[in-house]
């Protein structure tokens, strides 16, 4: 019997179920092993864990996941158990420590893999093969296993072994020119998207393929290998913009000069709003919003391409009005008139947003060290499987005893020895 089955048979240990009722998640019963660090891989596994899959996250003993060392930290205290970044990316997972370089560590890894549906790993190309844990080795142990590898440039090609931090991956995938649009000042560098957003995308893209492979496994009983290049995942997210040069020979400058439209991000009394009016009735709604000023009665304002040509002039007029109104006022009044306008929200604005409150987008999390805090949940609501925060992000090795002891059957003494030898 494989170790995962014990749970289904109700033979779980006391601590396994302490304080929690097992929720009926969408992915209830799917078993995932995560051997990742940073953002993309852990975010991919978080998506699946938040949907109810059982995720065992393996961290190397001692240091652990790199986001444990990245802020924001609770109370700005750079303690690896206080990283809010790690807390966010690892909800609903169980945490193990395991040294895959030691023979007993490998042995344990194979036992975990034998009953798993999916392994997500983000090691450098060739690394897993090098330690005897490549797809071919694992497939022999479990032909139904789906292995997803996530690397900056994929497993072939001239940049395969190049080093890339998130900044590099974002820029070499075209995001500096094609995503934050426009980054208008050519004297300044193209700019990446905020914080690590470009690292979340590949995790999201990988989750699609993993779920599709799970559906196929349900039909065929077979697993497979999925290769994800972060660069390609990011290019695919700008797929329309990326082919503009190839198809039209046009150089989509980051100044946005090809297709200026009135509107865009503009300042207002207490921040910024964004306005976009691709349809005529939306433009008319905008004019009503700002009180039908004299200039808006001129003939040229009714003609799209003339408006585009005089976008700067129009924006100057708009700003004059916007600066006398708050972003909330502009948002609600504009939307009531049918004008697509929105405030640029900060996390603080979001925390106080009625829309989020009604949708219960933030929910409470209890962490043994950080304490109580609110956490963002998920962008979808399933009618039959409501979201649950089953467990907070794990402490380093928090579930070693439960999994190695309770499920693999190691005695307390053996666990002590594994710890001493640095295996766990």
């Amino acid at each position: 019997m494989d170790i995962w089955d014990e749970r289904e048979n109700g033979a779980q240990s006391e601590e396994f179920s302490s304080g929690h009722s097992e929720s009926d998640g969408v992915l209830e019963g799917i078993r995932i092993v995560e051997y990742c660090s940073g953002v993309s891989g852990p975010y991919c596994a978080k998506i699946l864990a938040d949907l109810g899959a059982e995720v065992l996250k393996i961290e190397p003993p001692g240091v652990g996941d790199e986001t444990r060392y990245m802020g924001p930290f609770a109370g700005d205290d750079p303690d690896p158990e206080k990283s809010g970044f790690f807390l966010y990316l690892n909800t609903n997972k169980r945490g193990l420590t395991l040294d895959l370089h030691k023979p007993e560590g490998k042995n344990i890894f194979f036992r975990l893999i034998r009953g798993a549906d999916v392994l997500i790993e983000d090691r450098a190309p060739g690394y897993m093969d090098g330690i005897g844990l490549g797809y071919e080795d694992l497939e022999k142990a479990n032909p139904g296993l789906i292995v997803s590898s996530i690397t900056p440039f994929g497993l072939s090609g001239p940049y395969r072994d190049y080093k890339a931090y998130p900044l590099n991956t974002a820029h070499i995938s075209g995001q500096g020119y094609l995503l934050p649009f426009p980054s208008p000042n050519l004297d300044r560098p193209p700019v990446k998207v905020g914080d690590h957003a470009s690292e979340y995308d590949p995790g999201l893209v990988a989750a699609v393929a993993i779920l599709a492979a799970l559906l196929w496994k349900g039909v065929s009983g077979r697993g497979q290998f999925i290769e994800i290049s972060k660069q390609e995942a990011l290019i695919s997210m700008q797929r329309v913009e990326s082919v503009t040069y190839a198809n039209d020979g046009v150089y989509m400058s980051r100044t946005g000069g090809l297709n200026p439209m009135p509107g865009g991000v503009l300042p207002c009394k207490d921040g910024y709003v964004v306005i976009i009016t691709p349809q005529e009735h939306q433009w008319e709604a905008l004019i009503r919003l700002i009180g039908n000023p004299d200039w808006s009665n001129e003939k040229w304002t009714h003609i799209l391409h003339e408006r585009n040509q005089r976008a700067q002039e129009i924006n100057d007029h708009l700003i004059e009005w916007l600066m006398q109104h708050t972003k909330e006022e502009i948002f609600h009044k504009g939307q009531a008139l049918g004008c697509p306008v929105a405030p640029l929200l900060s996390p603080e604005d979001q925390a106080y947003s009625e829309q989020y409150a009604v949708r219960e987008f933030f929910q409470e999390n209890r962490h043994p060290i950080i304490g109580r805090t609110q956490l963002p949940t998920t962008p979808y609501r399933f009618s039959e499987n409501p979201w649950h925060l089953e467990r907070s992000a794990p402490l380093r090795g928090e579930h070693n005893e439960e999994i190695y002891g309770g499920r693999l059957g190691y005695t307390a003494q053996e666990l002590g020895k594994l710890k001493e030898e640095g295996v766990i």
Binding site: P189, A212, E227
Partner: protein, 407 residues
């Protein structure tokens, strides 16, 4: 094009009622993975991507001439139904009854008015997976607010957190929709997987605003934990320095360089031939580099500004320093690694001719995703779907066309 669809979702069918980018690309992802996707559209409510491109500013005279539409609707089938007519709605329902999933991104309330909302559809297909994608979600005071990619990025917090500190925050365009689209694909597949195991359907309410919000985790957590509101910082990082793009030879060419350790810093100094900097207290350890990064950036700019960006990448990668050019659409198309991995490919399109698109972003060993067909012409599959799948007679079909129901 790939001869036969071998994707993992072969055998599943989905009906979509979507326009623009976020809805169509969600189902495009599924169709690249082998699902049969039937797009319901109409001359009476034409998808605006068939009429114009916001990226290039081009307008199209003919609904089959849009490269944007092609790129976002690969592999799909298109049928035309004027849903303002009740018989068209009946036909749509008959299609739903033969399907596994539905995705729609109409303004909340529209599908109910049409009689195609989840409750109505459930009566004929109780185990359907039905996903609604909207700007702010189906419930809440802002449920009827209208939005496009730029408003999703604004409401999602990404705009305010992107750009230079001393300039306006960044605007975002259509590409933001593809994040919402990919999120929708995840939700649909998860529900299909549950259906495979339990035979139960369900309704999914997806908010594009929230799909962007969840990508802004660090800024959210900083506020939720510490009540701190982060500001945009260009290309800079909390920990690493140097961490920026530096100008290279030519017009608007830049190289991104990020240094995470003292070893990498020393290697960078050696390549720049500035050995004295290695032990310069202004830069010798990470905290100091972070504090003095303006000065540091100027030193690196002096070194990169007259060099080819690919040359800088090579010499730095050779010594283990992370460096990569910042690529434009032209740069992507010409990049040797991207070429070697065949990220761009052409599809044959009856109106556009050979047209470049981006290949699927996953490589699956047993069930490869693939491109079998160009984005469909408007109503291209009316015959196949109405005569074949629904089994209408030729004369019924003709009457429905004449009466503007299949339109």
């Amino acid at each position: 094009m790939d001869a036969k669809n071998q994707g993992p979702l072969k055998g599943l069918r989905l009906i979509e009622f979507t326009t623009a980018w976020a809805g169509p690309y969600a189902t495009c992802l599924l169709s690249l993975l082998g699902m049969e996707v039937i797009k319901v559209e109409s001359r009476s409510w034409l998808d605006h991507t068939r009429s114009r491109s916001f990226s290039t500013g081009r307008n199209f005279d003919n609904p089959d001439q849009s490269g944007v539409f092609n790129n976002l609707n690969l592999n799909k089938k298109s049928i035309t139904l004027n849903l303002k007519k009740s018989r068209a709605v009946e036909l749509a329902k008959r299609l739903v009854a033969l399907s596994d999933g539905v995705i729609e991104n109409m303004r909340p309330g529209v599908m109910r008015r049409l009689g195609l909302d989840y409750d109505a559809v459930c009566r004929i297909k109780p185990d359907i997976i039905y996903l609604s994608s909207s700007a702010c979600g189906q419930v809440g005071p802002q449920r009827e607010y209208v939005g496009y990619a730029p408003t999703f990025a604004a409401l999602g917090g990404l705009s305010l957190n992107t750009g230079y500190e001393d300039e306006r925050p960044s605007n975002f365009m259509g590409a933001v929709d593809l994040r919402s689209a990919t999120t929708a694909a995840v939700a649909m597949l998860a529900a299909l997987l549950r259906h495979q195991r339990t035979l139960k359907g369900q309704y999914i309410d997806l908010s594009s605003q929230e799909a962007i919000t969840v990508l802004n985790g660090e800024a959210l957590m900083d506020y939720l934990l510490n009540r701190k509101v982060r500001t945009r910082r260009g290309n800079r990082d909390d920990v690493m320095a140097p961490h920026n793009c530096y100008p290279c030879a030519g017009k608007d060419n830049w190289i991104s360089i990020a240094v995470a350790s003292d070893e990498e810093w020393q290697a960078l100094c050696r390549v720049m031939n500035q050995h004295e900097l290695e032990n310069d207290p202004r830069f010798s350890e990470q905290g100091a580099r972070l504090r003095n990064q303006d000065e540091l950036d100027n030193i690196i700019i002096e070194w990169t500004r007259n060099q080819d960006c690919y040359h800088v990448m090579e010499v730095l990668q050779e010594v283990g320093v992370a460096a990569a050019p910042s690529l434009s659409a032209e740069g992507l198309f010409k990049d040797p690694h991207i070429k070697k991995r065949k990220v761009f490919r052409q599809v044959d399109h009856p109106v556009l001719g050979k047209h470049w698109v981006i290949t699927p972003p996953w490589r699956l060993s047993e069930t490869p995703a693939g491109i079998q067909r160009h984005g469909p012409l408007l109503g291209q599959h009316n015959d196949e779907v109405f005569l074949g799948l629904l089994g209408l007679t030729a004369s019924e079909f003709e009457v429905l066309k004449e009466e503007g129901i299949i339109f």
